[in-house]
């Protein structure tokens, strides 16, 4: 594989070749300089400098990054929607009345009107967040478990296990995401949340493995690991306590962005008719339902499209902000 391909989840992968969707909104040298001068002032005044670990440093610069704060707040609202949709709407999305079919906003006190079946559009949008967030978190969580465990093992031990894993990832990279998912899901009569998630995990764990493997290789010969070895620490302890904490940053950045990619993939599959099926509520299904009314009622397509795109965007911005904050080079 050449290193110039963007990752299949639509998320950019940081490679030396420079595929990365690098800083979208540059925080500029200003932010970093502020920190530096602040530190200089503190030390100059004889005050004690707080211990600056990578994470506390990152958190301090993130708090001041408006892009990060905005994306995080947006995702907080979406997460609330997913967990407590009742907070946002009092209308049951499944309480449909066909006499209201395709009525516009304002009819019967409805905020955004009704869909073809006469179900309230706004409450469907709100309840749609649940599926998207659940699948995003499930798939990326599952891929993280597989990718981190296997990546740490193949990076740390190398040898035949590493070669084997490399070949296996090559093979899985050979299956494009949507095509592979179609093949897998084609088999199920009515795929549900679990089947869709498993299909996407099966096709999405490889990038995390590769990222982690390469960062494990880059730190495993460093002095502190040698020191831990010399002190007689077990392999398990060295990997979990010494190596992993120093390797997780790029993986977490990728995982954040990948959640957006997974959400888009789920919507695409549901739209194609191979993912979730009615009566499940999903933005992809809503868009699919509006497809025959592009000319007359673009609202039916545009509303779920907007919320879907904004959600994906929020995850990408969050990941990019994390990358800027965690990358020591940008300091």
């Amino acid at each position: 594989m050449s290193d110039t391909r963007p990752d299949r989840l639509g998320a950019p992968v940081d490679t030396p070749g420079g595929t990365a969707l690098d800083t979208p909104v540059e925080t500029g040298p200003g932010a970093a300089q502020d920190l530096k001068t602040e530190a200089a002032l503190v030390t100059g005044a004889g005050g004690d400098l707080r211990q600056a670990s990578l994470w506390s440093d990152a958190w301090r610069s993130l708090r001041r990054n408006p892009v990060f704060v905005g994306a995080a707040l947006l995702l907080l609202v979406l997460a609330l929607m997913a967990v407590f949709p009742q907070l946002f709407t009092g209308t049951d999305p499944e309480d449909c009345d066909i006499t209201f079919g395709r009525q516009g906003p304002g009819v019967n006190g409805s905020l955004l009107g009704y869909d073809l079946q006469g179900c309230d559009y706004y409450s469907n949008l709100v309840y749609g967040a649940r599926v998207s967030m659940a699948i995003g978190v499930l798939v990326v969580g599952g891929s993280l478990v597989i990718g981190v465990v296997l990546g740490a093992l193949s990076g740390y031990y190398g040898g035949w296990f590493d070669s084997l894993m490399s070949r296996i990832t090559d093979i899985f990279f050979g299956l494009p995401l949507i095509l592979g998912a179609i093949l897998i899901l084609n088999r199920f009569d009515k795929p549900g949340l679990l089947q869709v998630s498993l299909a996407l995990i099966a096709l999405g764990w490889m990038t995390i493995l590769r990222l982690l493997r390469s960062s494990v290789i880059s730190v495993k010969d460093s002095d502190y690991v040698q020191a831990a070895k010399a002190l007689g620490a077990s392999d398990f302890r060295i990997i979990t306590r010494h190596i992993l904490p120093n390797c997780l940053a790029p993986v977490l950045v990728y995982a954040t962005i990948a959640i957006g990619g997974v959400i888009a993939a789920e919507a695409t599959l549901s739209f194609l008719g191979i993912g979730l099926q009615r009566p499940s509520i999903s933005w992809g299904l809503q868009i699919e339902g509006g497809r025959d009314f592009v000319r007359t009622e673009p609202r039916l397509i545009l509303l779920p499209s907007a919320i879907l795109s904004v959600t994906v965007l929020a995850f990408i911005l969050l990941g990019d902000a994390l990358r800027d904050a965690l990358d020591p080079k940008s300091k």
Binding site: M1, T4, R291, P298
Partner: protein, 307 residues
């Protein structure tokens, strides 16, 4: 060079075999009864079911069925659709449409992506550079089927500039779907060109070129650009395979009678044989393109093959 190509080709064979096995397993070995699926709501009588099992050799062991299927695929036989038409005929008829769409998309991403990337890369931090950064991130976050509908609504319905669907207007009817299909990669090409070019611009050999007094045009055009285009060219190569499979969504929305639309309709009509046949073809195309690009990469960049 020859040795590198030979090694790369040899490595590709097991990948190809295992990938097709995976495809086959995903399709035929997962739980679920294809005959029951074929029947739909009402189940077949046991006699009919048994006959169908015999007809589709579902009683044979899995490896035998795999070999039989792949044997067919290698000879261009992908099975038949529900009406008994050989899939290979249908594919042959629809392939040109998909290829045309993918090529239009490739032209879009190459031309617009490269120009935007070069302009942004030359003046990093300028207004245009920031515009490219912001707009590419917006494009990346919009799923392509959403972009397809938005383009249809804005340019087809409201402005009426482009035909909404079908291919009756010749090349013009391919412009809108081509742009939608290529938009994601367009963003990557722009970003990739920008990063790669600005990296070359700060390298030693560019400083040397400037120091010996070459005009800026020659420095950028001859020295920096040529080197920084290597990853972009290889990306464009791989992307042709990706674009063809991305056509499933775009052709479905814009009603273009290509291979993607065939999958789109087959998924809805639950015609598994068609879905599997076409998707297998897409995956094979994708793998072959990746392989070609790896070879191309080695041809363009000597550092790769000397590893």
């Amino acid at each position: 060079m020859g040795r590198y190509v030979a090694r790369r080709l040899l490595l590709a064979i097991p990948v190809l075999i295992v990938t097709t096995i995976l495809i086959y397993l995903a399709v035929f070995a997962l739980p679920g009864d294809p005959i029951a699926q074929l029947a739909g709501e009402r189940s077949f009588s046991p006699a009919v079911a048994a006959q169908l099992r015999e007809e589709y050799s579902l009683n044979d062991p899995l490896w035998q069925r795999y070999l039989a299927y792949m044997g067919g695929v290698v000879q261009g036989d992908f099975g038949t659709d529900f009406r008994g038409r050989p899939l290979s005929d249908i594919m042959q008829q629809r392939f040109p449409v998909t290829l045309k769409l993918a090529l239009v998309a490739l032209v879009f991403e190459a031309v617009i992506g490269l120009v935007a990337g070069i302009l942004a890369g030359i003046r990093k931090g300028s207004f245009f550079d920031n515009l490219v950064l912001v707009s590419t991130i917006a494009v990346v976050s919009i799923p392509s089927f959403v972009l397809g509908f938005v383009a249809q609504i804005v340019f087809g319905v409201q402005l009426g500039i482009f035909p909404i669907s079908g291919q009756n207007d010749g090349l013009r009817s391919f412009l809108l779907p081509g742009f939608v299909l290529g938009s994601l990669s367009l963003a990557y090409v722009a970003r990739l060109t920008r990063t790669s070019l600005s990296e070359s611009l700060s390298s030693d050999y560019v400083r040397t070129a400037r120091a010996k007094g070459l005009p800026e045009r020659a420095v950028v055009g001859k020295h920096a650009l040529r080197n920084s285009l290597i990853p972009v060219v290889t990306f464009l190569g791989t992307d042709l395979g990706t674009l063809m499979s991305g056509a499933i969504v775009t052709e479905g929305i814009f009603n273009l009678p290509g291979l993607g639309q065939l999958v789109f309709q087959a998924v809805r009509g639950r015609e598994s044989e068609v879905v599997v046949g076409v998707v297998t073809l897409f995956v094979l195309i994708y793998i072959v393109f990746n392989l070609l690009v790896d070879v191309l990469y080695a041809a363009l960049d000597p550092r790769i093959r000397h590893e």
